[in-house]
Symmetry: C2
Subunit: 462 residues, 2 copies
């Protein structure tokens, strides 16, 4: 019954803790090669579903298909919930319909929601048809909430008690109930209209005398989640208030479900993943995507970047004659643009993070912008003096050093300002600042960098 | 006793859910201005410690100091644990020693560890001296574990039971114990040598008959955490295996504490923060840092970027004569470098994320590199044809279009390769790939971009 997964993964505190070890992967692939079903099952059985999912994502398509065919009826529904969308769809197509139906029927309803919400219609149908009626209704009700809403994240099975009950009454209720949820950590106290009013932890319940009113041992921190709230905000609330589970309410404030911290943690992880990829101009992707899928995912921001780069080049065109007279300008101009881009990306990333963690608000936005601009000025002045000196020593032209310095200050100051202001403005108008800011910022620093440097040089030199 | 924090934060499901609302912040600052202590306490009392911490981070230093002086003895230790390092040190210096001592004495020992581990020695001493002897010993023992180790994250209070006990025995033990931990979700079953062998959730315990052996209702997934394991790996394990709490063991495998998911979630959040900032070349920072602190934090990578940019410029110097003869090259060359940098950053970010989530392993590293290079080739060819055509139409020189195209393919192919290979190699040799990869990649794409474009142009044109 109890199996320690520590036995299968190397959790010894070194760098590779929890990495599925090489020899296990090799042994599994060897068993697949030999069509040795017994050996495969023996090797896979002790693995956690999440590790099996990782394994399936990491091996190539041919190996994956053969492994699943050989593994057959042992295939567990939980593995499906742990897989990435692309591989999941692929495996659902591969599985024998009976195996799929059995796998899905074992899952809790919130796991099924997780499983089907990103599938296309036909595959969704296959899964829903496999469910028993009651489960299908529960899943369909969850899917009626908007995508990424708390209603999709919650489990519908809630352990609740009237607010005036005592510890003894609640204990007897739990002892006598037929089917408790697989995982629960609190009893939700509700008023007669089913509005949640407090949470009691099971630990407190077990430690208290039978005649103590539940209200007296309720948690101090209590947060109710509206069913239509965005899952990102749900994850934020769990992280900010250290919640373990929180009741979910409908528009009338009535209890409809409960969200637990493990689901909130998965969302937090996904939101970070999105932010980090969006900042780099990559849309949703995974190591198991095909070459063509990946190429397509990368295209949009490469296109935007091309337009941006051409725009910056048009600035250079304006100063063609100056460059023809002094090629040194062509040598120095990428440095001005690059330093601005780098400084802008720094300000941008700090600002995007501060917005995501709600640390940048109306109360401090002006102060943060002022600080970033001051930083831009200080670091601009510092690098202006360094690069100005290098310019003079390199090309022997004092005026060129001065122009390099002035352009650097202008560009790093601009970088700090746009790196902070653009994400703030995008956030205000409801656009994800992580998604669009990067290109705006580097386009601006390229244009301002080229224009200020070549413009000043033209003024002085021509 | 029970207070709903929903009343104070606007959790209505819109964009600003959980944002401390403007009017509350304004009212608090107004109360501070009027020296109205009663009003301040009334306004602050319903707020969660985490929100008060955010408020203190967002207002300016003068307001903060006056607020804390006025708030005085009401200052809660939990607020300190929620603060960022910089502001925390600042506030510890501001607090009256007696207020500080009272605030700290109310905390659980793992929160005190969290509080003191990043403080400098004298401040650490002030806090430790305020503790009672038993607590101080517990904190000092935790601090004896390496920084970022599981031993610092765990709470020492564990609820355990011999593995052969029944539900009835465990229930009686809980009912009769004087002091249970503030938060606990499992009973850890141990063998006679105190080695943890299984977890029983409180929910299962409450739902089972008294004569059922605890072993029979133990959790299927059970993960033991070594006390010296890195906290990042701990967070990974909680996220991967959906753990709620896990026992921590010393070098001999004996139970020494327990880590709960809320602490793991905080670590996951911090690790992400680090990754995202490091990718942008920013070391640890916060919106409440001063201008000079911020300037200093940004300097190192700006310096690295300057060296990198100058190196790339040295490539341009080599082709000074070619540019002097055809200034159009100076106009086009930033486009080649920029597209390479962008494609490289995409590959880099995907690779760094895949390494962080342990989705990139020995099993698939070669396939991932091959895929990225194929993507680089496909997108390189695509943009080569677009930009080649633009080059021909723009400058009327077919050979220039061909050179632009060839250079773009070379640079985007290089970008894909180095964007994937560099973080993989850094990870292998134990350097955080998020920290150092960015500059390596863009330096390479700048150099290869300039060299291939100007080099080919020189071959063809001169």
């Amino acid at each position: 019954m109890t199996e320690s997964h520590q036995l299968q993964t190397d959790a010894s505190g070194d760098d590779d803790a929890y990495l599925l070890d090489r020899s296990t992967v090799a042994a599994i692939l060897a068993a697949v090669d030999r069509d040795d079903r017994d050996q495969l099952v023996t090797l896979m059985e002790p693995l956690h579903a999440a590790d099996i999912a990782d394994l399936l994502e990491q091996i190539n398509v041919a190996d994956r298909t053969r492994l699943i065919a050989l593994f057959g009826p042992e295939f567990d529904g939980e593995i499906l919930t742990e897989l990435e969308d692309g591989v999941r769809g692929n495996i659902i197509d591969t599985l024998h319909p009976q195996v799929l139906a059995d796998a899905v029927r074992d899952l809790e309803s919130d796991d099924v929601v997780d499983l089907v919400e990103d599938l296309d219609e036909p595959r969704q149908g296959v899964i829903l048809d496999a469910l028993e009626d009651a489960d299908r209704v529960a899943v369909e009700r969850a899917l009626s909430y908007p995508e990424n809403a708390a209603g999709r994240l919650m489990q519908r099975e809630v352990v609740m008690a009237p607010q005036h009950w005592t510890v003894g009454q609640a204990t007897d209720m739990l002892r006598n109930s037929d089917k408790l949820p697989e995982q629960f950590y609190h009893i939700v106290l509700v008023d007669p209209r089913l509005h949640p009013v407090a949470n009691v932890t099971l630990g407190k319940l077990m430690g208290a005398r039978r005649d103590v009113p539940l209200q007296d041992i309720a948690e101090e921190v209590f947060q109710v989640i509206p069913a239509d709230q965005d899952e990102g905000d749900v994850a934020y609330a769990f992280n900010q208030y250290h919640l373990i589970s929180a009741p979910v309410v409908d528009g009338d404030g009535r209890l409809v479900g409960v969200i637990t911290i493990d689901d909130a943690m998965v969302v937090l992880d996904q939101e970070h993943e999105e932010d980090i990829l969006r900042l780099a101009g990559v849309s949703e992707s995974s190591v198991s995507d095909s070459v063509l899928e990946t190429s397509k995912h990368r295209l949009p921001w490469l296109c935007v970047n091309l337009v941006s780069a051409i725009t910056a080049s048009l600035v250079i065109v304006t100063f063609e004659r100056t460059i023809a007279n002094l090629v040194s300008l062509a040598i120095l101009m990428p440095i001005i643009a690059s330093m601005g881009g780098n400084a802008g990306t720094q300000s941008l990333t700090v600002t995007v993070r501060a917005l995501a963690t709600k640390n940048l608000t109306n109360a401090n936005v002006l102060r943060v912008i002022r600080r970033e601009v001051s930083v831009g000025l200080i670091n601009g002045a510092l690098f202006a003096s360094i690069m100005g000196t290098i310019g003079i020593l390199w090309f022997g032209l004092p005026w060129l050093g001065a122009v390099v310095g002035a352009a650097l200050i202008i560009n790093m100051l601009t970088a700090a300002f746009v790196g902070t202001a653009i994400p703030v403005v995008l956030d205000k108008i409801g656009v994800d600042p992580a998604l669009a800011s990067g290109t705006f910022v580097t386009t601006t620093t390229d244009i301002v960098g080229f224009f200020s440097f070549l413009g000043l040089a033209t003024l002085v030199f021509m």
